[in-house]
């Protein structure tokens, strides 16, 4: 007779963590074997160890941190601007449908436009140093817009009707009904947007080559065939994106708890 074993939440979490670590270890081993098989001293594919060695070489240099700060600040500025504008635009679209109709083609075009086309166009309008701000902003705006618009559509209509009957002030409707309603979709879109921000921002830097940027370092590593550095910078971008996504999710959760009067059971 088959038996079902119920795991405690803590044991379940540990098991999931082990499974994830196992999967990661598997792919690192595959990477190592593939790099060894390709040979050529890691010219085409650097080993994980080679990547970590390159990272260890970059870490103590001031230029590495300067590049991180330069790109992070600009990409984050694009992200914050996109969150503010996307939220405002979605709210305006929900309040006045004409606004939504007006901006819909623009949002669709931005969504469908390749990063490279946009970067080349943007280079005509802004200095290359600020390219990543514009590119990450424009690529994240539709994502946040869709997230907030979806959240507005998902907000509990019955609670809104209750608020109307009780004539709740706008501030309370926003805090206790709209915000909790919009939050799940909004935070999901922000997490996705943060990843996209880095992808589009660094792509823009690789094309625009602003001095002291991560994209510039990536490009230089490529043209000098320093493959370990390409891998090291890519690893840094992935880690930064994941770290900042986690920070953004944590900040949003704190903000929600504080603003929506959430009670923990």
């Amino acid at each position: 007779m088959p038996s079902i074993t119920m795991l405690k939440p803590e044991a379940f979490r540990q098991r999931r963590l082990l499974q994830k670590a196992g999967a990661l270890a598997f792919w690192v081993i595959v990477w190592q074997l593939a790099a060894m098989a390709l040979g050529h001293g890691g010219l085409f594919l650097t080993t994980p160890v080679g990547t970590l060695q390159a990272l260890a070489r970059l870490l103590p240099t001031a230029e590495f941190w300067y590049r991180i700060a330069f790109s992070s600040l600009r990409i984050l500025a694009g992200f914050v601007l996109a969150v503010v504008c996307g939220t405002a635009l979605a709210a305006a679209g929900a309040r006045w449908p004409a606004v939504g109709i007006l901006f819909s083609p623009l949002v669709q075009i931005i969504r469908a436009m390749p990063v490279a086309s946009f970067v080349i166009l943007a280079l005509l309008w802004v200095r290359s140093a600020n390219l990543s701000v514009v590119v990450s902003f424009t690529h994240v705006l539709p994502v946040v817009y869709a997230g907030v618009a979806g959240g507005i559509a998902d907000t509990d209509r019955q609670l809104l009707e209750m608020a109307k009957v009780y004539r709740l002030p706008l501030s309370r409707r926003l805090r206790y009904i709209w915000l909790p309603g919009v939050f799940p979709s909004f935070s999901e879109s922000c997490a996705a947007a943060m990843g996209m921000c880095w992808k589009s921002g660094v792509s823009a830097e690789v094309i625009g080559l602003p001095d002291h940027s991560v994209g510039d370092a990536l490009y230089r590593a490529k043209i000098t065939l320093t493959t370990p550095d390409v891998f090291a910078w890519t690893l840094v971008i992935i880690l930064l994106s994941a770290f900042l996504s986690a920070v953004a999710a944590w900040l949003l959760r704190c903000l929600k708890r504080r603003l929506c009067g959430e009670v923990s059971a």
Partner: protein, 188 residues
């Protein structure tokens, strides 16, 4: 006093209310079989549904509180937090005292509404309407749903006590609850 004259409402082909005339002066229980338009009448009085024809007098400029067919509570707030959400004079300690009178424990008071039972949510929704000060009209749609007999008795006593001096229209299928209220009964 609320005066409803010749009120009609249809949803597509289905006539829900037809030429209804009714006066509500003080508290009234509204009874009748399902589908007779009791909830629709309340929704029209709440202003969330428009009648096809007819006239309603006595609502203008008067504050209104309601118990909806569903609880319609903010899930992240406590029961007292929901009661005070209307912001019409009642304080958290007052709301908690009334909730205790209706069987809430200290632990229940600390829980977000999403963790409460159906009956507890119903009581919180009922008290939200009853404790909403500066309102002259109370509209209650099946406020005793999900409560056992003992709780219905306590809830009915709270309804009578806290409705005093206001016009109230309470819809129920529960004859024993209607008897406990001792209010005039209108059958649709």
């Amino acid at each position: 006093m609320i005066r409803v004259t010749g009120l009609s409402k249809s949803f597509g082909e289905k006539k829900v209310l037809e030429n209804l005339t009714l006066e509500v002066n003080g508290p009234v229980v509204l009874m009748g079989p399902s589908g007779r338009g009791k909830t629709t009448l309340l929704r029209i009085l709440m202003g969330v549904e428009q009648p096809d024809s007819g006239r309603i007098e006595g609502l203008a400029g008067r504050g209104l509180a309601a118990v909806f067919q569903e609880d319609r509570l903010c899930p992240q707030l406590t029961a007292a937090g929901n009661i005070c959400l209307t912001g019409r004079g009642v304080t958290i300690p007052q709301a908690e005292q009334e909730l205790r009178n209706l069987g809430f424990s200290q632990a229940d008071l600390a829980q977000p509404v999403s963790k409460l039972s159906g009956g507890q949510k119903r009581r919180a929704a009922l008290l939200r309407a009853l404790l909403c000060r500066q309102t002259d009209i109370l509209l209650m749609d099946e406020p005793f749903t999900g409560m056992d007999d003992a709780l219905v008795g306590d809830a009915a006593a709270a309804v009578v006590r806290l409705t005093a001096g206001r016009d109230a229209l309470l819809v129920t299928h529960d004859h024993s609850a209607a008897r406990l209220l001792r209010w005039p009964v209108v059958t649709l």
